[in-house]
Symmetry: C2
Subunit: 345 residues, 2 copies
C-alpha cells in the first residue's frame, strides 16, 4: 500500500468520523466523490461498523478493503494535543500517519480543526524550511475571489511567516485557481508603506524584496473590492475576519426580516426575491468551496467545517485531487527551498 | 470665552475644513445641527471667507463671531505629526487647542483621521491614567448593535490597553446608548479561555478580574450575531474588521448585479426589491451614525469619515452634545482613576 513516485494514482484518506454529521455526511460525500473521480483511490477511516451501516441504509457501495477501522474518535471539543496523545488509534491520527508513511497522498477531515492541524503538523510533518503551516480561505470579491492566509493555523506570526504564507498562497493561486501571476497584498491599516503594526511593516520589506507579485498593503475593504488574489495576515486577524464574513448572511437575513415586519409591501418584495438572494449569496456559502487547505505540510491536508454537508465533503476530496494532480506539495517544497537558499547567500 | 464648570452651555468647535466635501458639507451640517440643539454654542473653525461664501450661496445664517478664521489646512493625505508641527494655524490644531484651553467642550472633525487623533492626543491631551485613547465604532448586530474598540487609534495594544478600552466603552454604552449593564467581550479565535494570542490571553485575566460585565471571548461571527454591547481588540484588528464590514454592501450590490445579468426574472425581482434593500441596509451606512468618538481624551473628540455628508456632520455634533450632557469625560476620568487606585493597592 505504499505510494511510489511512479505510481500516479492519487490516494486520499478521508476521516469518516470528522464533523458534526459524521460519519453519515462523510460517507455519502466520499462515495459521491468517488463516482466523479478517475485515477483516485479513496479510504474511509473510522468506525467500520458504523460506516458499513450507513452504506447499507443509504444503499451505497464502497470497497470494503478501503475502509480502515479505527476504534477511537477525537471529539469536536477536545484539546488537540492531548487528544492526539490519548487517542493514538483515532481516525485523525491514523489518517495523518497514512500521509506521513506515504500510504496516502492526502488526508481530508471535517473534524476537530485544532486536532487536524496538530495531526498534520506534528504527525505528517512540515515541509523543510516552512516555519509555520497556514490555512487559506477564499473570500468572494467583486473581481472573483481573493484568498486570505492565515485564517487560524497560527495565533500570531513573525514577518518571515507572512512571507512564507505569501509564497505558498501564490503557488496555490497559480496551480489550483489558474491565476498566472497572482497579485499578493499585505493586510494592513492603510495603503501606504509603514501603515501597519511592527510585524506588518517588517513583512512589507520582505515581500517587496521577494520575487512575488507584491502590490503593497491592502485594507479591510480591499478584500472584497480590489483586484487581488492572495492576502496575508496573522492567523488571529484572519480567523476573526473569516468568521465575521461567514456571519454576514445571517445579519442580512435579520435586517430583511426586520424591514419586512414594518411594511407589508416590503414583506412581499422580500418574499419574492428570496430565491434570487439565495443565488446571489451562493459564493458566501463555505459549503460550496469545500474545506480549506493547510499548506506547508509534507502532504495534502484539507480541513473542513464541522457542519460540512455531503457536498462539502465531496468538494474537499475533489480539491485534494486537484492539489495532487498539480504537484502542489512538491512545488511548495521547491519554492521554499529556493527562497531559503537565496536568503542564505 | 472660557468654559467654567458652572456654565452649562455646551460649546462645540467644528472643523470646517475637514473632509472631502469641506467646507460645504460641514457648514450645512453645522447650521442644521444648530437648529435642533438647545443650550449649545457651535463654532466653525476654518477659512472664514469660504465659510461665509457657502453660507451666502446656501442661504444660511450663522453667528459671525462664532466663525474662527484659520489660514492653514491640513490635507487628507498629510503625515499627521509633521502636519501638526508645520501648520500650527490649521483648523485641526486650533480646534484641539480650544478644547485644551476650555474654550470648547468638544471638537468635531471629518478631516485627516490620523491628524485629528494626534491633535486630540497631543494637544488636547489624554485623561490621566489612560495609556492609549481609543476609537469605537458601532456594528449592526441581530440584537441591535455592538460597539467595537479599538478601530484604529492604536496599531497594537497591550493587555492593559484592552482593559482601558473596555472600561471606556462600557461607560459610553451605558451613558450614551442607555444600556444598563453593558456586556463586554474580548475578540479572540475561540470562545474558551486561552484561545487568543498572548495579548488577548493576558487581557482575558484583567477583564475577568475587573468589575465589568465581562462575558468572555467572542469570535468574529459573534460581532453580528451575539447579544453583546462592547467588544475590545487592538486597533490593527479593529480597523481591518471595520473597513471590511463597510465594504460588504458593495459586494452585495455586485453579487446581485451578477445574478441579474444571468436571468431576466431575477433582474426584475432585484429591481423591485432595490428600495427595500436600501431600507434594510440602512444600519450599515456609517453616515447614519455620524462619526466615531475618540475616548480617553480630556475633552470630547469626534472623528468623522472623510466623505461625511451634511447629515453625518449634524449627527457628529449631536453625538458630541449627548456626550457633554451625560458628563462622559468626567465619568471616564473617575472610572479610570478608581481602577488605577484599586490596581495600586
Amino acid at each position: 500500500m505504499t505510494v511510489s513516485d511512479s505510481e500516479k494514482k492519487c490516494k486520499i484518506a478521508v476521516d469518516a468520523m470528522g464533523g458534526d454529521f459524521a460519519p453519515k455526511n462523510v460517507v455519502i460525500g466520499t462515495v459521491n466523490a468517488l463516482s466523479t473521480l478517475e485515477d483516485a483511490e479513496l479510504f474511509l477511516i473510522g468506525d467500520k461498523e458504523k460506516i458499513l451501516s450507513i452504506l447499507k441504509e443509504s444503499n451505497l457501495s464502497f470497497n470494503n478493503e478501503n475502509i480502515i477501522h479505527t476504534p477511537e474518535v477525537i471529539e469536536m471539543g477536545e484539546s488537540p494535543t492531548s487528544a492526539l496523545k490519548s487517542k493514538p488509534n483515532s481516525s485523525l491520527v491514523i489518517g495523518a500517519k497514512m500521509v506521513r508513511d506515504k500510504q496516502a497522498h492526502a488526508f481530508v477531515s471535517a473534524g476537530n480543526t485544532g486536532a487536524m492541524m496538530a495531526a498534520s503538523t506534528l504527525i505528517t510533518g512540515r515541509i523543510e524550511g516552512v516555519g509555520r503551516p497556514t490555512i487559506g480561505a477564499q473570500l468572494p470579491n467583486i473581481f472573483g475571489h481573493c484568498s486570505l492566509y492565515d485564517v487560524g493555523a497560527g495565533k500570531d506570526a513573525k514577518a518571515i511567516h507572512l512571507l512564507e504564507y505569501a509564497i505558498m498562497g501564490s503557488i496555490y493561486a497559480k496551480e489550483i485557481d489558474g491565476i498566472s501571476n497572482p497579485k499578493v497584498g499585505l493586510l494592513s491599516m492603510g495603503e501606504e508603506e509603514g501603515k501597519g503594526n511592527d510585524v506588518a511593516n517588517e513583512a512589507y520589506d520582505l515581500l517587496k524584496n521577494s520575487n512575488l507579485n507584491f502590490i503593497g498593503n491592502v485594507e479591510g475593504r480591499d478584500l472584497l473590492t480590489k483586484e487581488i488574489d492572495v492576502v496575508v495576515c496573522d492567523g488571529f486577524v484572519g480567523n476573526i475576519l473569516l468568521k465575521f464574513g461567514e456571519s454576514v448572511p445571517k445579519l442580512l437575513k435579520h435586517l430583511l426580516q426586520q424591514t419586512a415586519k414594518k411594511n407589508v409591501l416590503d414583506a412581499i418584495k422580500i418574499m419574492l426575491v428570496k430565491s434570487t438572494m439565495k443565488k446571489a449569496l451562493k459564493s458566501l456559502d463555505y459549503q460550496e468551496h469545500g474545506g480549506v487547505p493547510l499548506l506547508g505540510i509534507n502532504g495534502i491536508s484539507i480541513i473542513g467545517h464541522g457542519s460540512s454537508t455531503p457536498k462539502a465533503i465531496t468538494n474537499m476530496i475533489l480539491k485534494a485531487k486537484k492539489m495532487f494532480d498539480n504537484n502542489l506539495v512538491e512545488k511548495i517544497q521547491r519554492s521554499i527551498s529556493d527562497y531559503k537558499k537565496k536568503d542564505i547567500k
